[in-house]
């Protein structure tokens, strides 16, 4: 070896191939100790045995055991235009408000004489989607950041935001000491997953952490060093404490990722970044590592200008990604135990500007998996708008979040500051 550091030398050898993905052909998904990922006392529910035996997956309605249930929340950042997602084409007012932004009714996937779905959502729609109309907050603001904060924190009013995020509190309720309970994929860390005790992690990168599992003595020394650095010192300030906690999480994560190798991406055709994130999600869920909540952000919905092309592309990628993801989940026997749901900080204004739309209020949430497909919630009026000419929400964030919490049998009072009742008839 030349007079060069081991940092460079070893990276060359190990950096490329070392990652924590499971290849597609390595089913059944192994857990860390090499045993099958299924819990042995619930083999039918997890479906791993069936998948291993090559038998077709059979849906078991409402039968997913509580401890197997997981949530994948897709955050549509920028403000998704609900009126171009689930289109109320039967309301003549829509064409008046949007002369070049509205989708031609002839292109829509028709639901009934009032509603049609954006044709770009076809792949996902065909597998069954619940469209929840009018989701918003009672007194909406127009600021992305103000409204994102409210959605992340799960505080509809926006005053006195809790320090933790809604998903972080859900993770706290689900925490059984797993190395990682909540993961955000594709965007790094998110305030939505800030928790009080459960460990949550944001992974922007697919092969983070290869060096944590290397057994060369030098790497072992390094790991020992990190354990030392992660130990608290008596005079640590807040930031120092946080920095040591960060190191600790990284070291713990090493235990989680050992034994898992690579998955191929792109995995779902024409599905963009969200397709990669959901491919990773399928691996994490399939490997049964204790991850219960996965957050997947996707940006670009702030369609002030040139809305049609941008929005159509985004919806098509989401549709392809979710459809591929659900196929994988079904193969893994996780189709009935994984709830997929979307949020967005707000919708768009009903009346367009030049060729886009400005910030609005209520929007449409989409849910897939163990849900009742079709339309849910009351349609917001296109005539009786609020003072800012925006839609008036008919379903509150609190009710929506209470429903997501109810999926885990968590009472709304444990994760929200107001005792909202969950929506009935949405989940099955």
């Amino acid at each position: 070896m030349s007079r060069r550091s081991v940092l460079g030398a070893t990276a060359g050898v190990l950096g490329g191939g070392a990652a924590w993905y499971v290849t597609r052909d390595r089913a059944p998904w192994p857990s860390l100790d090499g045993s099958p990922g299924a819990t042995t006392d619930e083999p039918a529910a997890s479906g791993t045995d069936a998948a291993a035996a090559g038998e077709p997956f059979q849906s078991i309605v409402n039968a997913a055991p509580l401890e197997d249930r997981t949530l994948v929340l897709i955050e549509l950042q920028g403000g998704n235009d609900g009126l171009s997602t689930l289109v109320p084409y039967g309301d003549g007012r829509l064409a008046d408000l949007r002369h070049n932004v509205a989708i031609d009714p002839e292109e829509l996937i028709v639901i009934d004489d009032q509603f049609g779905v954006n044709p770009n959502l076809a792949a996902m729609h065909d597998q069954g989607v619940a469209y929840l109309q009018g989701v918003g907050v009672p007194d909406p603001g127009g600021s992305h950041f103000g409204m994102e904060q409210r959605w992340w924190a799960g505080a509809a009013e926006g005053n006195a935001l809790p320090h933790t995020g809604f998903l972080g509190r859900v993770c706290d309720q689900l925490d059984v000491g797993a190395p990682v309970t909540g993961v955000s994929l594709g965007g790094g860390n998110t305030p939505a997953l800030i928790s009080a005790k459960a460990v949550t992690l944001g992974l922007p990168d697919r092969d983070a952490g290869w060096y944590l599992t290397n057994e060369d003595p030098w790497f072992r020394s390094l790991r020992t060093g990190w354990v030392g650095l992660a130990a608290e010192s008596p005079d640590d300030g807040t930031s120092a404490k946080a920095a040591r906690r960060g190191l600790r999480t990284a070291i713990d994560f090493a235990d989680v990722i050992s034994g898992i190798t690579e998955v191929e991406v792109p995995r779902y055709e024409d599905s963009g970044d969200i397709g990669e994130s959901l491919a990773v999600a399928s691996v994490l869920l399939g490997a049964d590592l204790g991850v219960r909540v996965i957050h997947v952000p996707i940006g670009g919905f702030d369609t002030h200008s040139d809305q049609r092309g941008t929005h159509d592309n985004l919806l098509r990628q989401i549709s392809n990604a979710v459809a591929g993801f659900r196929t994988d989940l079904a193969d893994l026997g996780l189709g009935d135990s994984t709830l997929i749901a979307t949020t967005s900080e707000f919708g768009r204004r009903p009346e367009q500007n030049d060729n886009g739309t400005d910030h609005g209020s209520a929007s449409v949430a989409m849910l897939a998996g163990p849900v009742v497909p079709g339309l849910h919630g009351e349609t917001p009026s296109l005539t009786d708008l609020d003072d800012d000419d925006n839609l008036v929400a008919t379903v509150s964030m609190g009710e929506y979040y209470a429903t997501l919490a109810a999926w885990f049998d968590i009472p709304a009072t444990e994760v929200l500051d107001v005792a909202n009742a969950p929506l009935t008839d949405l989940l099955r």
């Binding site: 550091s5 992305h144 990168d205 983070a208």
Partner: protein
């Protein structure tokens, strides 16, 4: 305390919470410059820490290009890489001082993004910011309001008076100048009309004003009725009592860290206002104050600050810079996550960041120059990394690592890697 004193002055001081003079000098460099390069603390040893602060404030280290130099750079191919590459070179230059610090600050405050504007447009905007980085806030805001990259980024380009785009109108008040609680939806609507009428030529990036598309009738904006244009709208915003405190608070979070007390904010905003929003007097009032030197480690380093610090330690001349690094760390210049720029919080020291930063270090190698210059001892490595007054747990971790790794080169690698991933190095 007798026992602690017996452990040596360094440890005693650490427990007493009173940073050594070197620790204070290093702190001043980290905040007023972008990082500490090896030897810079030592070069300030003739000055007490407060005098060192004044010295750093007084240095003229601005890099301002002439119009010819700006026009001479070719962006026709790989424009993003050219732009990022040029900027990264500037950021890691040991001579980069307060002017670079504030150029970077303003880019994060008055954001624009390659997601919407071309590399050449961002390049020109970058030099606009450079010209005003230590100048006058009003001039900066006036110019950036009609800067091509900004007009694209926040949809001012092509906004027509009869159907104006509200994007810039909102963000200039909410994020750039006043704060979310200091404007109304009505203000947004009026300001959007006042700001309308601007166009940008895609090819030449020339900006022009089209009176036909500007809203020409009188409107009431924040209590004043008149015909408005971009200049009078921005002037009105800059004259607002909320402007000086909002901008002061933003700068304070970077330079001092955390939130100013109400008294201190009033004091500093007063200085800013009395000096007609001149930036330099505000910085002097902020840093030449006992509070500043006590604010060591009051916030985490941003990923960019960490990276610049890492390059400083390994040697700017010996590291092959890769703009992609900053993308991986979630802190790429010219790609803010959204219009609010990059938040300052504990996500900067999360487990995610630990994993990413260490991955990045694994790809580096120590130069012969560094191997010749630094002994593989804990004291030499800490001083080379400008880490003074480290905590007992950090020192213990390094001590143990070098005991286990007597082989010289691998020991030096290990110590430098641990120092660069230590909690102390993660703090500003």
């Amino acid at each position: 305390m007798a026992l602690l004193s017996a452990l040596g002055p360094r440890l005693h001081r650490w427990f007493a919470g009173e940073p050594s003079a070197d620790a204070q000098r290093a702190h001043a460099l980290r905040r007023l410059h972008l990082t500490t390069h090896p030897g810079q603390v030592q070069a300030l040893r003739d000055l007490d820490p407060r005098a060192a602060v004044r010295d750093l404030l007084g240095r003229d280290n601005a890099t301002i290009l002439s119009e010819e130099e700006i026009a001479a750079v070719d962006f026709s191919e790989s424009g993003d890489q050219t732009l990022l590459g040029w900027y990264l070179e500037r950021l890691v230059d040991p001579d980069a001082g307060l002017h670079e610090r504030m150029t970077w600050f303003w880019h994060g405050h008055l954001t624009s993004s390659l997601a919407r504007a071309s590399a050449e447009a961002l390049w020109r905007q970058h030099h606009l910011i450079r010209r005003h980085a230590l100048g006058n806030f009003r001039d900066l805001l006036q110019e950036i309001t009609i800067d091509p990259a900004m007009l694209y980024w926040l949809d001012g380009a092509g906004s027509r008076g009869e159907q104006p785009n509200e994007n810039y109108a909102r963000e200039v008040m909410e994020l750039f100048a006043l704060g979310v609680e200091n404007y109304t939806e009505d203000d947004v609507r009026v300001a959007a009309r006042g700001l309308s009428g601007w166009r940008v030529d895609w090819e030449t990036l020339e900006v022009s004003f089209d009176r036909e598309q500007h809203y020409e009738r009188p409107l009431t904006f924040r209590g004043e009725r008149r015909r408005w244009n971009n200049e009078s709208i921005i002037d009105k915003i800059c004259d607002d009592p909320a402007c000086a405190p909002h901008v002061t608070r933003a700068i304070y979070r970077t330079i001092v860290g955390g939130e100013p007390s109400p008294t201190r904010l009033e004091e500093l905003a007063g200085v800013f206002r009395e000096n007609d929003l001149e930036i330099m007097p505000l910085l002097e009032a902020m840093a030449d104050h006992p509070e500043f030197l006590l604010a060591r480690h009051s916030r985490p380093k941003s990923p960019l600050e960490w990276l610049v610090g890492m390059v400083a330690v390994l040697g700017p001349a010996d590291v092959e810079l890769d703009p992609w690094w900053l993308t991986r760390l979630g802190h790429a210049p010219f790609y803010p996550p959204n219009v609010a720029g990059w938040p300052i919080d504990d996500r900067w020291v999360s487990g995610t960041q630990s994993l990413l930063r260490t991955s990045l270090l694994m790809d580096q190698e120590l130069s012969d120059r560094l191997i010749d210059a630094v002994e593989a001892t804990v004291d030499e490595v800490l001083e080379h990394c400008s880490l003074f007054d480290v905590s007992p747990s950090t020192r213990a971790a390094l001590d143990e690592a070098i005991r286990n790794q007597p082989e010289y080169e691998r020991g030096l690698d290990l110590l430098i890697l641990l120092a660069l991933t230590s909690p102390e190095f993660a703090l500003a």
